[in-house]
């Protein structure tokens, strides 16, 4: 082996960085980055929940089994839109499905998009969800098997380190995807509360689906508006919910720059079995 270039390479590296010292507060920078990430994910989570609520929530107010709200969503346009959406929601509940949630942070140029994918069978409390990290090859995965929750975390080497949680759960945790528990099928009533309180406007969108818009009262936010569309599949079940959410947070009494999120949630393969392998903890 020719060692000359290797010796020069070693010497060059020492000349380049041998005496380098850390002068900037990278830890504080990392902390700020971490907080920003959490804030965006929380916002995305809320958007996801509300997007699903926009789709699923009407069941409870028009045709579902949940108690009728005292202040149901305002309905614009034909009553048929509300009824048809309620029927679609009823057909989409309590049945297994595959899900993908794609999020784009439009208000942060260059911010990487991310897509979480999974499947869930609410009748068996069994499913999974895999969400990528946005700046590396790693990912986070949730598995729920008959109510037992496992969470795995993988770095660039793709080796997953699993952790089992005590007790039983009936919903997937979307921490890695949307930073929160998305109880779309398991707990629609909790999501409906926000929708009922805010009042939603639902109309036919002219393409066989529905358009919805809602202004939400969100703690810590000056304004929070969500608008989107619901698309049905051939079986009149919900196939896609896409929406834009614009939220203005208030910090130290001052309104911050608006956060603009574009979220697309796709539901498919209704009724197909969801098989999840128990991981090795």
């Amino acid at each position: 082996m020719n060692t000359d270039i290797e010796d020069q390479l070693i010497a060059g590296m020492h000349e380049r960085v041998g005496g380098i010292t850390l002068t900037t507060d990278v830890l504080a920078g990392a902390g700020r980055r971490h907080q920003r990430r959490i804030a965006i994910r929380r916002t995305a989570y809320a958007a996801g929940v509300l997007g699903l609520a926009g789709a699923l929530g009407i069941t409870a107010t028009t045709g579902g089994g949940a108690p009728r709200s005292q202040t149901p969503p305002a309905v614009a346009g034909a009553e048929s839109a509300n009824l048809r959406l309620a029927a679609a929601i009823a057909a989409s509940e309590n049945i297994s499905y595959r899900v993908s949630v794609s999020t784009h942070v439009a208000s942060v140029p260059g911010s990487p998009d991310w897509t979480a994918e999974g499947a869930f069978d609410p009748t068996k409390a069994t499913g999974y969800l895999r969400a990528p990290y946005t700046e590396g090859p790693g990912f986070r995965e949730e598995r729920l098997i008959n109510g037992v929750r496992y969470a795995g975390d993988a770095g660039g080497d793709k080796k997953v380190v699993w952790q089992r949680y005590p007790g039983k759960q009936n919903k997937l945790n979307y921490d890695g995807a949307l930073s929160g528990t998305l109880g779309a099928s398991a707990d629609p009533a909790s999501m409906l509360a926000a929708l009922r309180q805010a009042g939603a406007t639902i109309t036919d969108n002219g393409a066989g689906g529905f358009h919805f818009s809602v202004k939400v009262k969100t703690p810590g936010a000056q304004s929070d508006a969500l608008t989107g569309d619901v698309t049905l599949d051939g079986d009149k079940r919900i196939a896609k919910v896409s929406y834009q959410r614009t939220i203005v947070w208030v910090k130290n009494g001052k309104a911050q720059s608006p956060v603009d999120l574009r979220v697309t949630l796709r539901l498919s393969d209704y009724g197909k079995p969801v098989e999840v392998t128990k991981p090795t903890v």
Binding site: I5, Q8, L9, G18, V26, G29, G156
Partner: protein, 174 residues
């Protein structure tokens, strides 16, 4: 700050080992600014996985630096701050070796990320091939081939340079 209390001990690690980690990050990225950015990203990754990382925090940080660098985590938005070409001086002025090493550092950043990472591990961190493979999560064979290709590419990029007036990089006498 509340988050500092949550990540107890991280500030001590950064105070004691931050400069060494920064040195690695600078070699992986080609500039101090990009190195600090990479180190911040690795720290943020550690914060995110704080509950699941036990034991060797520095080792985790170091592995994360390499994985993020190989993934070209910001390649779309940040280009290495290096010259596209490595030009030799027109005439020897007695500082050829110094210039050569500077050229090697420039050429290092022009390598594909995995080759660069392997060379940093082997020649800066003084890891053997098995240790480098462990850090990168790849096979020893991949480390060997990446190192071989990386060195070959460095020779190509600095082919016009000479350590002295009698020998070139291939070891052949002129």
């Amino acid at each position: 700050m509340r988050w500092k209390r949550r990540f107890e001990g991280l500030d001590t690690l950064v105070a004691e080992r931050g400069s060494a980690l920064l040195a690695t990050a600078v070699l992986l990225t080609g500039s101090r600014a990009a190195g600090e950015d990479l180190l911040q990203a690795a720290l943020e990754r550690l914060m995110r996985r704080w509950g699941g990382v036990h034991g060797d925090l520095e080792g985790y940080l170091r592995r994360t630096l390499y994985h993020l660098a190989i993934d070209q985590w910001r390649s779309r938005r940040r280009r290495p701050e290096v010259l596209a070409e490595v030009e030799p001086p027109g005439q020897s002025d007695g500082t050829d070796e110094l210039h050569l090493r500077q050229a090697l550092m420039q050429a290092l950043v022009l390598l594909p990320p995995r080759q660069r990472a392997v060379l940093v591990l082997r020649y800066w961190e003084q890891c053997n091939e098995a240790e480098a493979a462990e850090v990168l999560g790849c096979s020893v064979g991949t480390v060997k081939s990446s190192a071989s290709r990386g060195l070959a590419r460095l020779r190509e990029l600095t082919a016009d340079w000479e350590v002295d007036n009698t020998r070139n990089w291939n070891g052949a006498t002129l």
